[in-house]
Symmetry: C2
Subunit: 340 residues, 2 copies
């Protein structure tokens, strides 16, 4: 049952070769390319054990071996060291991210950078509003019964929403409303505001009540509960590398999954803080993505986490490399955010 060191070395060699060549790897090729110090026959015996344990499999009887999802998992957990970035890669990251003027700009640059570095599909979640603090709330009258609410978060995110007021509200009242919401909400985490927002209504002067009620409803509804999360996506063309061999010939399910924000958020939405998460093949809870792997991590200024980012590609991917790059990019982005 136990996998001795050599068997593990064989597995590592198989993963590395298969990732590099995309072809099932046989015992002979293996001993040629790696210094295993044993003969092909011995390797074959080891392979038989590895296969029995479910770490590798044969596509056809007369073919070489290919890692299974379980094999990749073992590889990632125990057999790979995080690959240090090359100086060129470090430079690319810096060059790419320096000069961003905007949160939008930062996110877009980041997602393109990740896609380019890893040659996979990249996903970056905007800083979550739930984890941001309110920096300013602006109310702009559009007409007497319409208000545009613009919220600026400390992470740089700006969200707006149109509010339909129950009755016309004069300009002076808007000023009062603005003052009130800013006094009460600036500096607080949005996720924790429901009671605050509630209190807002109660503390308003009677003539402001109706307007404040709608306003607070909208604030709660759209900024806290609903589609508060945003995503940026890039590198979808990378799915077509490796011909049709990856993803068992059909990009369809993958492309479909990539169009579902909810799915992507679950994928890269950070869970445990700051660890890098790797989901391999059918570890994925979405059927459409059973042929794919995801490497993701959280990012944020300093040690806090405000959002997630990651890459998605075939299970046959360069895990150590991608993990290193995802981490590095997340760190750089965090530094960038911390500067604000």
């Amino acid at each position: 049952m136990g996998l001795d060191d050599r068997k593990l070395a064989v597995l590592r060699a198989i993963v590395e070769d298969y990732v590099a060549t995309q072809e099932p790897v046989g015992s002979k090729a293996l001993v040629e390319r790696h210094q295993l110090g044993v003969s092909p026959a011995t390797v074959r015996n080891d392979m038989a054990v590895l296969e029995e344990e479910g770490y590798i499999r044969q596509p056809h009887t007369s073919a070489g071996r290919v890692p299974t999802d379980r094999g990749y998992r073992l590889f990632v957990d125990r057999l790979s060291r995080v690959k240090p970035l090359s100086p060129a890669e470090r430079r690319a990251i810096e060059r790419f991210l320096v000069g961003a003027v905007d949160l939008d700009d930062v996110v877009h640059r980041t997602v393109r950078l990740l896609a380019q570095l890893t040659r996979q599909v990249a996903v970056v979640q905007y800083p979550s509003l739930a984890r941001s603090k309110v920096r300013h709330l602006e109310l702009v009258p559009i007409s007497t019964t319409r208000l545009m609410v613009v919220m600026i978060a400390d992470t740089g995110r700006v969200e707006q929403r149109l509010v339909e007021l129950p009755a016309p509200v004069p300009a002076d009242d808007v000023t009062d409303l603005r003052k009130l919401v800013n006094e009460k909400l600036v500096g607080s985490q949005l996720a924790e505001t429901p009671p605050l927002v509630q209190a807002l209504v109660e503390e308003s002067a009677p003539h402001l009540r109706p307007a404040m009620t709608t306003l607070s409803t909208v604030l709660l509804e759209t900024l806290v509960e609903r589609h508060e999360e945003r995503l940026a996506l890039a590198g979808q063309a990378n799915l077509t590398r490796g011909g049709l061999l990856d993803f068992q010939g059909s990009l369809r399910p993958i492309l479909e999954a990539l169009e579902e924000e909810v799915v992507l958020l679950k994928l890269i939405g950070e869970t445990e803080p700051s660890t890098t998460r790797v989901l391999i093949g059918d570890e994925n809870e979405f059927d459409n993505l059973r042929a794919a792997s995801v490497v993701s991590t959280g990012y944020g200024p300093g040690s806090t986490i405000v959002g997630g980012l990651g890459v998605l590609g075939p299970t046959r991917m360069d895990y150590p490399g991608n993990i290193a790059m995802v981490r590095a990019v997340a760190r750089y982005v965090g530094e960038l955010l911390a500067q604000n």
Copy 2:
């Protein structure tokens, strides 16, 4: 040389059958399915002429005929009537768009709707800032030397940008600046503001000059010149319908093109107002899209045009249907915008 009515009917039949079946269509099948009133042999003669003129071609000697890009062009220009929408489709449009709370919301719903209706890739351009009027400019101090400029356009678009000031600016000065920019710019088209923005600096009180200079530079630079355009995209999974037959087996170039905002903007960025534009195959100026067709049109409140929207798919697409849907959706969105 002249194509008489029957030859045109034959071409129309070929296009319709090929679009429906995705298979080269032969003379016999043609007379069976369409009441042409002549024998296969006659149709064959007509086909020979059509082929000579470049409207159709044979994939192989012993196969049926397939329309060329030129054939589709003739079909679109002279042989097809815009297909009226089905009641179900009309209902779908209304159901989908009613209840949008936001410009973002409108755009996202629209692009998804288009993708779903046409079963193609859909692209929607946000209302162009150049064609919008300034409704309000908000300046929010982030620190003493940093300002967030938020511009709200009459089309509902909200753009923000961080401004790094040359020197600390006290809160009172920010109020003055805000008042000044709003007085001068609200109500004007951004595309026509350069002189106005210029004037701003000159008219400012001396102590506001430095700040106003940076501010105006940023305004011009990012809101007018640079990436002022935004896009929404949906339905990329539709590219995989029709197996690998469309797009000669590789989605790569298409996916790459779809990642280039500039390319997409050129495609759907409206040119002549309000006509529906159809680009077929190699009429397309981007090499990557020579296997694709694009149907696009402008939209906007009332009769003005503020942005473009459209669909992209294989040259083998249902032109009359897609043209009808693109137009219908554009009209509905226009009405929706007009309500604001």
